[in-house]
Assembly symmetry: C2
């Protein structure tokens, strides 16, 4: 019911800034999130076709990694050049609720603020606000669809690291909702890596069986939806890959066993986990998304 | 004499980091600058041709604006994609000496640290260290030429804002040394704007006649060297342009009166002073430099 209220309110988002970039506009908006119970910021890039011709465009969501806000991707990737070329609106949210002052929220760089892990928490004190999955898959798209010139049925999602995990689970848990999906160095099997175990234990509690609902490798094994072609890039010199935080091979194996999934896995020799890696291969990711979103 | 010493010492620069990016390597080096009397960092992008084939490449220097270090351009512009495409080494220094603890050095964002203005100071206490002009035109190129696979006679320079001023005066004061030059939103006539007056008064003293040796518009009026084609980009919504800190029209008029100079001036409707503006038009600047450096 609360989403109907949002849909009916065109003033629900506030423009904080807008800068011309590659012929379009890089904007930052804020809004009062009912799902998260706090004020949230997010980026919107409007390509030239949306700004000049008021054309309705496909929309691509980007989810960032640990410690990021919406600003990192906006300022460090130059994604705008690719979005401008393809005529795609790009929306990128923050990585957690903000400013709640929950006990321990800011104690760890890999849990709490900046580390929402795109799940819906079930454990106190996180369960009231840390619902980034519902935020990213429901509240934010409804807000965007109601306020911006986007094609609601042409929606893609991608992300980096923790955000790669987020993009994968959003697509795998919602067959047909996302027409395209890709990831840079995703945390591919969080129930089996230190970052994921810490986060899921904190947000979801000690019953590891429930964790599987939020794990891309587990979801890829069980996936029975419409055919999905997933692009994953991984740098060979990524220290988090070497430390087995990312485990893309597990996802690769799960997808190989599932006829509903096709995983295009690119090992990028010599690349690390940084935005330099992302920037280098971002054009290929946009080509991948455009293939489905502009079809 | 001290430069001969640097030339003879291949260990004079220390590699702090190297990240693979667009097929090449984005590096940060440090070295003990004799001219500035302090440790300095600078960025070097090695294109794929330099890394893989050990090819000697043209070298392009980028000078940043007020408050920047070497990191801003490296992290926010995605220039590496263009340098990779053209096979050009890019070197970008810091914007002032660092860590000297001179009285007042850190009191102003537009003077002292982060604001060296690419002049050789003559006034105490700045005159001992604040010699960014000699650093950029002499010490740094000698270090680069001695340690990296660059073609010493294929050298270009460009910059942004204060760094645009720096690039213009370096080229105009050294006919034949820089084969190409361009600028984004340069401080084009510093002796007639608040930023320039404050900086030149502090670094050069109260005799305004001496300031003209460091002013792009004055130097463009007097220029009698080999023909030089200068590309300048200016955003129409740049607040510093509106506040008359940049005054590109004065440079345009001076160049129009001088047969040795051709100024290609681009008014970019709706763009501001940010790295989004730089990123948008960076490809055209690399095309401009490549025309001369790859000739």
């Amino acid at each position: 019911m609360r989403f109907i209220k949002i849909l009916s309110c065109k003033m629900a988002m506030k423009l904080l800034s807008s800068v011309k970039c590659f012929g379009g506009e890089q904007r930052i908006y804020s809004h009062a999130s009912e799902v998260l119970g706090c004020e949230m910021k997010f980026g919107v890039y409007m390509p030239p076709s949306a700004v000049e011709d008021h054309a309705e465009c496909p929309v691509l969501y980007f989810l960032s990694g640990l410690t990021c806000t919406q600003d990192n991707f906006i300022q460090k990737s130059c994604f705008q050049q690719h979005a401008a070329k393809h005529g795609i609106v790009v929306v990128n949210p923050d990585t957690s609720p903000r400013g709640l002052n929950l006990p321990g929220e800011d104690d760890h760089w890999d849990f709490g603020s900046g580390a929402g892990f795109y799940v819906d928490a079930t454990e106190a004190p996180w369960s009231k606000n840390y619902k980034m999955y519902s935020y990213v898959t429901q509240e934010l798209p409804k807000l965007v669809n109601a306020n911006l010139p986007v094609l609601p049925n042409k929606r893609g999602i991608f992300g980096h690291s923790m955000g790669g995990h987020g993009a994968l689970i959003c697509a795998l848990k919602n067959p047909g909702v996302y027409q395209s999906v890709s990831a840079f160095a995703p945390i591919s099997n969080p129930i089996n890596c230190p970052w994921g175990k810490k986060a899921f234990n904190g947000y979801l509690g000690g019953n590891e069986e429930t964790w599987k609902n939020w794990d891309a490798t587990e979801l890829a094994t069980a996936y029975a939806g419409n055919p999905l072609e997933i692009l994953v890039d991984q740098g060979s010199q990524d220290n988090f890959y070497k430390e087995k935080q990312l485990l893309p091979e597990n996802l690769l194996n799960a997808a190989a066993e599932n006829d509903h999934l096709q995983l295009i896995y690119k090992n990028r020799e010599g690349y690390d986990h940084s935005y330099f890696f992302i920037a280098t291969f971002l054009g290929e990711h946009f080509d991948h998304h455009a293939k489905f979103l502009k079809a």
